[in-house]
Amino acid sequence: MNDAHFLDIRDLKIGVTVREPGTPPRDITIVHGVSTTLGKGKVLGLIGESGAGKSTIGLSSLAYGRGGVEITGGEVFVNGRDILEMGRSGLNAFRGREVSYVSQSAAAGFNPAHRLIDQVIEATLEHGLMSKADAEARAKELFAALSLPDPETIGDRYPHQVSGGQLQRVMTAMALCPKPDLIVFDEPTTALDVTTQIDVLAAIKNAIRLTGVAALYITHDLAVVAQVADEIMVLRDGVTIEHGSTKQIIEDPQEDYTQALVSVRSIVHQEKQPDAQPLIRMENIVAGYGSGPDVIADVTVDIYQGQTLAVVGESGSGKSTLARVLTGLLPARSGQISFDGRTLTNAQKDRPLDDLRDIQMIYQMADTAMNPRQTIGTIIGRPIEFYFGIKGQELQNRIAALLEKIELPADMASRYPAELSGGQKQRVCIARALAAEPKVIICDEVTSALDPLVADGILKLLLDLQKRENVAYMFITHDLATVKAIADSIAVMHLGKLARYGTKTHVLTPPFDDYTDLLLSSVPEMELGWLEAVTASRKMESAGN
């Protein structure tokens, strides 16, 4: 055994048996012979898009296959022993002791029935590493090291009683508690808001440095992994594309694919100036659900013909609620919406058909936004039939024309949603919205569920369509990089209010209000040392205050 190679993965092959009704079981290989080594205390970033096999490789260092996934070949040595050769009881003694795991969603990863402290020290007690009192004391030290509030008592709470960002840090403490040699971080900050992500990222990095634990850090976000990793391995379709030091990957990527990942989100969008008359004006909108409190209060925004209003904010800021008010699905409690110079009825059910046609929506999850039993042609053709009464050959021609607009082949019309990739599905949803020939399309987090390169393609398509069809977008997102790429004007929402509103240049130019400043400075940038620089400057500021 060698400290410089205490984790040694050799020619790892991973497969899954797909059992679909009606067809014989098929074996699919998802990782094709990946090898790597890791030294004690080092952090290796595994990066790639969905389906690259990065989580699968991460879990293989615990000899674990999620779902029907099986390790079909190769060796994984941890501390000199091949863990793939271990029996069940050997694995039980190994897992949680030498290697531990931090999952993407801590909210789902914690058992709702037990207190946090009992779960945090469970592995430590199970492996007989410490007495209960010692383990609890260590857990509390770790809570403090991860800058959790009330480290002495936070463990007494149940998972639902702490916030998502805190829970992710508690999970990191849980992984660290048994003093493992390696922690597998599986997208630990992906589900968090950007301002929370930076705190969790800093806490994780600090904890890694303090404890000297090695880590596999899995993510799809190169800018994030650049902040914590010593080395980065780029994966695609189960194959290593490039492996090098973080500095080399970020500053001097060799492979085309890596270069594409580094330069993603480099769309340059020339901002358009507002017209004299807005297409839509939402004035002093107040809205809420049921008999609950107001979710948005006194929001006034304008949307101009052929331009994009980006509504940006964190979860719970009220941005989706604003979209629901515009569609009329959630009638505003007060305030009014004017459309093309006339007043729009608040409730969707009272609006004339033409008003409904003029406002269309595209959703975050293309999967659930389409009927899985209808063909793509039926899905796109339905609004054409419904709004324009077009049938027969003319309908087929229109469907073909729409498919061409979204850059999909015409024979897609006869396929079903399940046969399409994530990006293709989102394109179909765009076509369905366009089919109604609307004046404005509400895009609700339409790129959030997509891989960065695919998301880039969707954004380019949306910009291109805007130019040709002169349609306006209300673009809801939590991702500021997307905002920069697509917006003409920006509304920053915070706790149901407008924190900042104006043209893109105005909103993104200092001086900022506190919240916009926090939001903008929290977006990870693809440069080494960014995290340290930001946290240091924030500490300076709070010391100055």
Binding site: R97, A108, N111, P112, H114, H160
Partner: protein
């Protein structure tokens, strides 16, 4: 604790309301039954005067509302009235029989509930392997056989061939606990075999559902043994569906045991009810109906309360 307390208080008041509604239904239901009690007591040869006198004594001439409230008022103070056919005090007659029924049900429950949950855990642990299949097949077989067949089978094997337990479940006042237990063992086992499959399959399904959760993966990756994962991490989150089925079966153990009582000649509520239904003894039928309804509602109420208490979100609000 406030939220859980509010929910439980709500459930209890709803239960009481429901019980009143049931009492109305039972009363109305027995009123529209065909036949005349006075006639059936006195027989065909009764003179009209005798019939009229008896009706007056029984209060059958009062308006229905008065009779309902008289009945309800009696129940409130524990007086279930007198049986028309025998003139016996119903409360006294039922007391010992209800005790017998509850004892039998309790013995059956003490055997069947832990067994069902344990078998369910084993089935989950060895999912799709032979222990799971064996458990599923055997419990399904036992639920598929009619109660009387299982009952006679047990009598044949344990009563006649092996001679371990008495074939007739005779109990009497002043009998010791051990003797009593011995006497009801065969009917209790029969009932166990009837309710086991349902509870075991529900336990298995509920736990398997929970086993899909991400926190089960977390537990497995801590290196916990399979059984510990199931017992400590899956079962506490499957309590709510399991407890509902358990209570449903408990209710069945109390109110649905007529056949078993007949087979083993056991002096319980079921036989008593059936006897008096055939004699059109309305007060007895009403009393038994109300008691069974109260048991059903009470057990479901307990299931609801346990469900609420087992949910940490309700127990420990934010």
């Amino acid at each position: 604790m406030g939220l859980a307390f509010k929910l439980i208080a709500q459930r209890i008041s709803l239960g009481i309301l429901l019980l009143f509604a049931v009492s109305v239904l039972i009363f109305v239901g027995t009123q529209i039954l065909p036949g005349d009690v006075a006639q059936s007591i006195l027989g065909q040869s009764a003179t009209p005067e005798n019939l009229a006198n008896l009706r007056k004594d029984l209060g059958l001439n009062d308006p229905p509302l008065t009779r309902y409230f008289n009945w309800l008022g009696g129940i409130m103070v524990g007086d279930l009235g007198t049986a028309l056919t025998s003139g016996a005090n119903i409360s006294e007659a039922i007391a010992s029989r209800l005790g017998n029924t509850l004892f039998l049900a309790a013995v059956a429950a003490v055997i069947s509930v832990p067994t069902a949950i344990f078998l369910g855990l084993i089935a989950v642990r060895y999912k799709d392997r032979w222990p799971d299949k064996l458990i599923s097949a055997s419990t399904l077989a036992s639920i598929s056989l009619p109660e009387f067949f299982i009952g006679y089978l047990l009598i044949l094997v344990f009563g006649v061939k092996l001679g371990w337990f008495p074939t007739v479940a005779t109990v009497y006042d002043g009998m010791g606990f051990g003797d009593r237990l011995n006497a009801v063992m065969l009917p209790a086992l029969t009932l166990t075999l009837v309710v086991l499959a349902h509870m075991m399959r529900m336990t298995r399904a509920a736990i398997l559902n929970v086993m899909q959760s991400a926190y089960i993966e977390t537990a497995e990756l801590k290196g916990l043994s399979s059984f510990k994962v199931i017992w400590k991490h899956a079962l506490p989150n499957a309590i709510s569906p399991v407890i509902n089925v358990v209570m449903l079966n408990m209710a069945y153990l109390i109110v649905g045991v007529v056949v078993v009582e007949v087979i083993f000649v056991y002096p319980g509520m079921g036989q008593y009810l059936v006897d008096h239904v055939s004699k059109r003894d309305v007060p007895v039928v009403q009393a038994c109906g109300l008691i069974f309804a109260a048991i059903y509602i009470g057990l479901n109420l307990i299931a609801d309360i346990i469900s609420v208490l087992s949910n940490p979100r309700l127990r420990h609000p934010k």
